[in-house]
């Protein structure tokens, strides 16, 4: 990215020695890679809205975790997986119906979030709960969360490798996949669970509301750039990682141009992703990608 000019680097002394930055780089980086890879499948399967719904619903888990004194990752993850399971049980195959179900469940989920955030704020000392759950607070993530978060990310990556071929085939032609003996429904569920992990990781870092940006943005931009799934996944990962680390870096640097206040990391990350999407041009590569896989 063009933001990494040497002049800016010089002003950010201490960047690589800051423990809050270390944790943010590690957890943010893993959330970015997992979200980017899962995101490519999400865009191919036309499940962007389901991804967004899972992310929003996971905020109920994040806010409940604060109430019960659990690690936020556990809350986000549990709620996202619960919602993913629910979506699978409903099992609507038509996209329009699927969006309706997602929307209704999303509303109910956010209602729970409203309740838990109210309880957080009025009954516990966690007065920054709303900001933390909805928009993320990367530099305040507890360092102890780092190792579990990395393991969860590794699990998601392994799932991606195992599901790679079947998911692509189902994305192109579910009927053909069924004929070839694939359990479409089981694979769909495994995919939703992997999506839950991606969503939980990014909700914990850039917030439940913004995590869609990390899931859909890099994937959408990458698919415009490359018409083959392999390269698209790599490009999406590079965009997501650059946006996340670049955002952390800019947030760190903003300390020096906002009279020691600093701007939120989430803002920078989402903005970079948006710019990458704008830069990715107007090619309708999504259709070409689908053609390329079947060829």
């Amino acid at each position: 990215m063009a933001m990494f000019s040497p002049a800016i680097f010089i002003t950010t002394a201490g960047f690589f020695h800051n423990s809050a930055v270390h944790v943010a780089l590690a957890i943010g980086g893993s959330a970015a890679v997992v979200s980017a890879i899962v995101g490519v499948f999400t865009v191919l399967r036309a499940q962007s809205f389901a991804g967004h719904a899972l992310a929003d619903i996971s905020s109920a888990g994040g806010s409940a975790a604060l109430l019960f004194g659990l690690p936020p990752l556990v809350g986000f993850l549990a709620m996202a997986m619960l919602a993913a399971g629910g979506m699978e049980v409903v099992g609507a195959r038509q996209i329009r119906e699927r969006d309706l179900v997602s929307g209704v469940v999303l509303g109910a989920g956010l209602g729970l979030t409203a309740l838990f955030l109210y309880l957080d704020i009025s009954m516990t000392t966690a007065s920054n709960a709303a900001n933390m759950v909805m928009f993320g607070s990367m530099f305040t993530i507890a360092p102890e969360t780092m190792i579990p978060a990395l393991w969860v990310a590794v699990l998601a990556l392994v799932m991606c490798v195992l599901l790679y071929r079947p998911l692509l085939l189902i994305a192109i032609d579910p009927d053909l996949a069924t004929i070839r003996g694939l359990n479409v429904r089981l694979i769909g569920l495994l995919y939703l669970l992997t999506l839950s992990i991606a969503v939980a990781l990014s909700a914990m870092t850039i917030g439940a509301i913004l995590s869609t940006a990390l899931l859909i943005g890099p994937a959408a931009a990458a698919i415009r750039w490359s018409c083959r799934p392999g390269p698209a996944i790599i490009i999406a990962s590079v965009i997501a990682i650059s946006a996340t680390w670049g955002g952390i870096f800019l947030a760190y640097d903003s300390f020096y141009w906002t009279r020691n206040h600093g701007w939120p990391v989430s803002f920078f990350i989402v903005t970079i992703i948006f710019l990458a999407y704008l830069a990715s041009g107007r090619t309708t590569a999504l259709a070409r990608l689908r053609r390329a896989i079947t060829a």
Binding site: G14, L119, I121, T124, T140, A251, N260, H261
Partner: protein
């Protein structure tokens, strides 16, 4: 901030006021008084004695008063009071809106911010920790009580003098700390006790931008986080003074870092801890706790007995 949500709530409650009857007065011959924060209510009680019925609105020592949620019952309590003491400076802005929505000519209001002449741009609203502020507040309360109930003016005046004299123990403790432990460096989480820490002559090493971020629940900068951690790890401070009513994962990690590195910790409260304290004994207890930390390295994580809820203030 979650201001928008609170404003919506207040707007709804203000609407309800149109249907409520505003009952200002002295139903039972007592002055109906409200202290929005329980420390102010306590001072009203000490001065008003038998002729005042006082209600404290913000009383829970296990939550953050900045994020207080209003209920309809509280609205009617406030609008029917004839003396209201509010802090001001946005700390209890909701109370101000309720008061403005139900005007009453008889009602007396003590707005501590305006009383002390602080501009709206002042950064620290925790005036009750300021030893210079409380005598002024007490005097205003005594004056308003006498205006509302002139027949007992002498009674209020006598009790106000007694309260004012009792504050000497507080100022004496401050002077004694200041002379025995001059320029003591301390770290804090947010500005709750800053006025008193300044009066005690301590040097607050924590960046003020970090204190503001924690108080307002916004994203703190990693530079400030690193600075605070360095203060604790490198023993650059004699005590870690934290607001136990605002505990986030970040402040908890500071607390753990302090303990791990043998920096004594001192819990301070935003509202008067109950039961067992009045305003003066609370302030003395805070100074006593800081003295123990600086002199002997002893930590104080709670001013209440062990049966009280745990320090994190969690619900379960």
């Amino acid at each position: 901030m979650i201001l928008w949500r609170k404003q919506a709530g207040v707007a709804a409650l203000v609407l309800m006021l149109f249907f409520a009857t505003a009952r200002c007065g002295m139903a039972s011959g007592l002055i109906d008084a409200v202290g929005i924060e329980n420390q102010y209510a306590n001072i009203i009680h000490q001065i008003g004695g038998n002729f005042v019925s006082v209600t404290a609105i913000i009383t829970n020592p296990n939550t953050d008063p900045h994020t207080f949620e209003v209920s309809p019952k509280i609205v009617s309590k406030i609008t029917s009071a004839s003396l209201i003491v509010e802090n001001g400076l946005g700390y209890d802005a909701w109370a101000n809106k309720i008061i403005e929505a139900a005007p009453s000519r008889r009602r007396r209001i003590v707005n501590v911010q305006h009383l002390l002449g602080f501009p709206n741009s002042a950064p620290n609203p925790h005036f009750w920790y300021d030893p210079k502020a409380i005598p002024v507040v007490a005097k205003a309360i005594a004056h308003d009580l006498a205006t509302l109930d002139p027949a007992h003016a002498a009674y209020f005046d006598e009790r106000w003098h007694r309260f004012d004299d009792s504050l000497q123990a507080w100022t004496a403790a401050i002077t004694s700390f200041k002379t025995r432990y001059p320029d003591t460096p301390v770290a804090v989480t947010e500005p709750v006790a800053d006025y008193m820490l300044q009066a005690l002559g301590t040097i607050i090493e924590t960046p003020f931008t970090l204190q503001l971020a924690i108080m307002n629940g916004t994203d703190p900068s990693p530079q400030d986080i690193a600075a605070e951690n360095a203060l604790l790890r490198e023993h650059k401070v004699k005590a870690f003074v934290y607001n136990r009513q605002v505990m986030t994962p970040l402040t908890e990690s500071f607390l753990n870092t302090a303990k791990k590195n043998g920096v004594p910790v001192v819990a301070v409260y935003e509202t008067m801890p109950t039961p067992g304290y009045d305003f003066q004994s609370w302030m003395l207890a805070e100074i006593h706790a800081l003295t123990k930390a600086v002199a002997m390295g002893t930590s104080t994580e709670s001013l209440l007995p062990a049966s009280a809820p745990p320090p994190t203030g969690r619900l379960f």
